[in-house]
Structures are given as C-alpha cells and as structure tokens.
Amino acid sequence: MQTRDDQDKTKFYKPDSRRFLVGLARGAAGSLIFGLPMLMTMELWFLGFYIERYRLLLLLLVNIPLLVVLAHRIGFEETFTWRQAFRDAVIAYGIAIAMSAAVLTLLGVVKAGMPPTDILGKIAVQAVPASIGALLGRSQLGGQNDEEAAEEDKKKNRDMTTSYGRELFMMGIGALFLSLNVAPTEEIILISFKMTPWHALVTVSLSILIMHAFVYAVSFRGAHQLSQGTPQWHAIVRFTLPGYVVAILISLYVLWTFGRLDDTAFTHILMSAIVLGFPGAIGAAAARLIL
C-alpha cells in the first residue's frame, strides 16, 4: 500500500529528479531577479545590525504563512495540497537564505571577521523579499518544456475561483514586496518631509486611481472585467478601496519594522505611509494581475 508520502516521492523524485533541480534553479534565479535591488541597497545592510531583534523575528515569522499561501496559489500541480505548498515555501525560504548569503559574501558586505549577529541579521532581512522572488521565479519563469506548458494551458483553461479574502491577501503580498524594496531607503522619510499635506492628498487620489486603472481599465494580460450591468463604482468600493487600505497597512507595518515610525508625530506617520503606499498600491494591483 502506498502512503501519501510515497506518492509524493514518486511524483517528485523518481520519474525525474532533474525536474526538481530545475525547480531549484528557477527559484534561485527568481530570488536573484527580485532580490538583487535590495541586496545592493546600503540601508538594508545597516538594518542587519540596528533593526530591533523582535521586529526582525516577527518579520521572519510573518513571512512563513505568506509564502505558504503564495505557494499554494501558484503551484501548478492539479492536486496541489497544503502540505506540498508548505514544502515549497520552506524550499523557497531556504533558497533565498542561501542566495542572500552568497551574494552578500560576493559583494564583500559579509566578511569572516564580523560579529555573527550582524551577519545573521543582514542575511535574514534580505531573505524575506528574496524568498518571495524565489516562489515567483518558479511560476513566472516556468513553462519551458512541453509537458509543463501543457499543464499551464490546462490551468489557464480551468475556471479558478479566488475567494475575496484570498484576493486581498494577494494584494497584501504584492504591496509587501514593493514596499520592502523601497521602505529601508532614507528617501521615503525624506520625501514625506519634503511633501506638504496637499501633495499627500494628491498622492492618495492618484494611488487609488492608478490602482483601479491597472486592474480594470488598462488591458494587461490577466486584467479583470466586471460582469455586465455592474456599475464601475461597485469594483471601486469592493476591491480597489480595500486594496488601498491593505497597501497602507502593509506600509505602516514595514515602516514600523524598520524603525521609521519611532517617536514620530501622527501626521508624519500618516505621510510616510502615504508615500510608501504609492508603490505599495501599484504592487497590490500588479499582484492581482500576475497571481
């Protein structure tokens, strides 16, 4: 009698362990493509030693369920279970840690004589965006051989329902990814200091407008349509506005993680969140199209 474990093994290792290796390589490529901009950002290296440890820990833990849901969403096997999703997420996290360590060593940012907490902190901060990249790499760079292309087609032709909560979750991942890219840089707070409240008001309206246009108006592949007879404002209230709130909340979380909100007045907290919410909103909208 075969157990589920055996079935997993035959499916993934026996017929072709090469496929697994190709998957690993794709993950590594993805973590490089999505992670390099951050691996080469000075502020993120510094964060490695000054980020408060409990905030770093929280970020690392929050990343796990996020990866699992993402893996479950983009896994292309027909019978994709949560267990497999968990395994994929762990592998992606592992690839991301290895790639971050390798690139930081290559760049001379991590050296032998440095204190271990500093080295670990630097790698850990980088591993979060890189792990999202590793998972995306598997799905977006895939479809090279015929067998997989056929599977992709099958997946495309199959009707897929996305629950409302999941939809918001995906937007959160998109917003987090883009926010992590820019949040550690000093520019975000500098911009919020340079902006007047009027600038902020325009930024809010523009973020919401762009977000809506991205998903509904501009005809990208994967763009969303409204069923006939549904007025435009339905989608704004049900999807775009909650999406924007998600993007702002993610911005606040990321800014807090990097210690940008400490001892700051409420108005400035809001202004920084609005500045970071701009790329965040675009990330959220992009996630709805891609994922």
Partner: protein, 136 residues
C-alpha cells in the same frame, strides 16, 4: 469573489455582504485619512523648527560619562542635519563641549542621542542645545 477563466477574470455579480462591509469600512478609513491630512493642510500654520532638549540619563563609560538626551522639535517644519552641542560647566573646571548631529528631527516629534564628556556631569551644569539645522 473573482472567477478566473479563459475569458479573463470576471468579478462575481452577486457579491457576499462581507465584501460590501469591507469596502465600506475601507472607504471610511480612507475618508478619515484624507480628512486628517486635509485638516493639516488647511488649518496648520507653518512654523519654523523650535528645539528643546531634555537629559534622559547619565552613565559612566570607558573614558568618560555618557549623557543620553532627547531633542524635541515643537515646530511644524522638519529640520535636517540638526547640530547639537552640549556644554558642561563644573565648579573650578574649564567648560567642556561635546557635539553630535541628527539626520532629522521631524516636526512635532523627537529624536534621541548621546554626548560623551570626560568630566563627571553630576557636579556641574549641562546645557544641551541645537546650534544649527538645514531644511530637508
């Protein structure tokens, strides 16, 4: 709920009430945020940065004494590159100065820092003040 099919993604036409509830709460949050910022835009008067400082703690460290302090900006403009000088005047001793620079002291917010003196500050008088800043 969204259905992804061959013809692209189509939003469900009969959504769950929860979707509307989330939408309405989001709308209220965004209106609240816009309202707050608009209030600031209309009613807030632009005032220059105004600094005051407070000594938080003094510790003995290698080669001197560390004085931790907090600097507040009560103005509604943010100051950048804020140079802070501390002067320690003790009885029968020459006045000792120590300096540090803050990248930013945001409007109506505070930043923390430290100055290191060689003499023990407990016997003397410390004066910590901002001596210059730039606009961000």
């Amino acid at each position: 709920m969204t259905v992804t099919s061959k013809s692209g993604n189509v939003e469900a036409s009969a959504p769950h009430w929860l979707e509307w509830a989330t939408g309405i709460i989001s709308m209220l949050l965004i209106i609240g945020m816009i309202g707050w910022i608009a209030g600031e835009a209309i009613f807030q008067q632009q005032t220059s940065p105004a600094f005051r400082s407070e000594v938080v703690a003094t510790h003995e460290v290698d080669g001197g004494f560390r004085v931790e302090f907090e600097i507040f900006n009560d103005g509604t403009s943010t100051a950048a590159a804020v140079e802070v000088r501390g002067e320690l005047a003790g009885p029968g001793q020459p006045t000792e100065t120590a300096e540090t620079t803050f990248d930013y002291v945001p409007a109506r917010s505070s930043s923390k820092g430290g100055l290191i003196f060689t003499q023990n500050p407990s016997g003397g008088v410390i004066r910590i003040r901002a001596v210059g800043y730039t606009e961000p």
